[in-house]
Symmetry: C2
Subunit: 336 residues, 2 copies
């Protein structure tokens, strides 16, 4: 794997390396004739500039780090695709790391990326992350950063989030319009701002329609199928059964459905249920799951652009982008 360098071409043509460099970069101070000659033989010899040398000189790696909680569900991969579209076009590469929802791993990843001298960071917090001091320090030191999806209000860097409050409200309103009166909320992790916003949306809808609820109706679940299942089963065992469920995401909704089914409940006849962050398979489960769908591609798109602005040293004024989605109503929440 011997690589051709600028030197090889220079020797071949009996010119200096700087001439070759000038030709490759098409600077003004070179004659068209020599430039074309150089470019021609460069092509013939199969020359490609050594990006590592370029990076060393420019003090820039053209790599940005992405830290996400997981990439097993299709949610984050979709976002990453949105980012890649934007950043690859600008010559950047993505280094993708997962925290596995673990704060410690998240920090390790960030440190590793920093040591690798990435030009910027795109981060979605793990469900554990509460201490964000390091991020603010890093941002103030001048590291270009954007947070997305899982953010924390105290973070100073730009953020791309979903309008969780608004769409949670719509989701619950939808359940109410289907005739549900006794609605519970499977609430993810209460210390995540995303979960808190969804709780607010739930509360607003319940209040608006004068439906009763208390703290027991807002149940912390986590984000996984089995967590939804366990919580639901526990409720049913206590003899409690709501007639409407607003789940913080699709996996917990699926879990709840499993528990409900095995307790002999019918969906949507006995219980209406709606999830969040439409997963690819929400339409193939039984019954097809209603859900709030998020514009994953757009999240990636905007996060990437906010990062680019920082990379290009432009000032970002309003630094939180809040996106809208849509309600996808399927069988699981539809009566009559």
């Amino acid at each position: 794997m011997k690589h051709i360098t600028i030197k090889d071409i220079a020797r071949e043509l009996n010119v200096s390396v700087s001439t070759v460099s000038r030709a490759m970069n098409d600077t003004f101070d070179i004659s068209a004739k020599t430039r074309d000659k150089v470019l021609k033989t460069a092509k013939e010899m199969g020359y490609h500039p050594n990006p590592v040398a370029k990076r060393l000189h420019q003090q820039k790696t053209f790599q940005v780090g992405v830290v996400i909680p997981e990439f097993i569900n299709d949610f984050f991969p979709q976002i990453i695709m949105g980012m890649q579209n934007v950043l690859q076009a600008e010559g950047y590469q993505l280094l993708i790391m997962q925290s596995n929802e673990c704060f410690e791993t998240e920090m390790e990843n960030v440190l590793k990326l920093e040591e690798n001298m990435v030009d910027g960071l795109l981060i979605s917090l793990s469900r554990e992350t509460q201490n964000i001091d390091y991020y603010n320090k890093l941002y103030e030191k001048g590291m270009p950063m954007v947070f997305f999806n899982r953010v924390n209000e105290m973070i100073k860097a730009p953020k791309v989030i979903f309008n969780d409050f608004k769409w949670s409200y719509f989701a619950v309103e939808h359940l109410i319009k289907q005739g549900c009166k006794n609605i519970i909320h499977l609430a993810g992790y209460k210390h995540l701002s995303l979960s808190r916003e969804r709780i607010r949306g739930y509360e607003k809808a319940m209040n608006k329609f004068h439906l009763p609820y208390d703290d027991d109706c807002i149940i912390e679940t986590g984000f996984m199928i089995d967590e939804g299942e366990i919580v639901m089963k526990r409720l049913l065992d206590k003899g409690i059964c709501p007639d409407g469920i607003f789940a913080t995401n699709d996996p917990t909704a699926i879990g709840a459905i499993k528990a409900l089914k095995s307790a002999g409940k019918r969906i949507p006849e006995d219980v209406c249920i709606i999830g969040f962050s439409e997963a690819m398979w929400s339409e193939v489960v039984d019954p097809p799951l209603s859900s709030v769908s998020q514009p994953t591609n757009l999240i990636g798109y905007h996060a990437a652009h906010l990062l680019l602005e920082q990379l290009n040293e432009k000032q970002t004024e309003d630094n939180t982008i809040k996106l809208d989605g849509k309600l996808v109503v399927r069988t699981s929440s539809q009566r009559g």
Copy 2:
């Protein structure tokens, strides 16, 4: 974001840069005293070696390129996690690119990675890829490469594949034992070796149990939900309905189920169906889908190790690893 260099430390301590370098690399020709002194102030000053400079000098990037057809389904992400575990421990980073099942994009990705001077490549072919000349050329030029999952028999580099033949046989045998006599195979893309092997497994089982089948029973479908649905619908419209279906993967199985359901067929009573490459959601669909599960993590693990052997210039003797999985029987194929 000013970075501390070896020079800064040298100046601070009034020693030469090489002394600092020696201390950092803990070489034999340095006194313990100066080494400790250097390491101490290095830490105090927050020094981190510049990986780019190191790469330039070592002529090695410690980055390996991964090219996969897509990462929307959880299959490839799982494999990538397996790779990351192995390679990160050895100091390598992954540059992940998607071909979107398109040959042209695949080639572009490989070229881009090559220009980026990755130390090696981990590749899973797009469904379109038939011309693999470039890969063989690259491999013979000395580029460390491993192919996985989607491979082509003509490729000379090491491969990690699944024993598709054997497990297809088991899948079809299972259907036969459930009493199916009229079994069709939704066959993916016939030019992929993976699909051909699955077809062979199907044929072997049918032959062994003396069940009739012809070319019309082996239907090319692609890999997506709607492709399975369309093919199945077309069959049903022609008045053809098998009593057993072996699908080349889970999405096509799901598609077929959709078509069957809307034609009023019951599963598994009227039609038994089994998929392949268990997806995360195969157990939440209706009915829960039987499937052949592949050891995704292991695929990544072995591919990474085969690459490491090449990166470390060890000779790889037997260069195709064939993995086994297991049959996961759920409702969709279980009678009585």
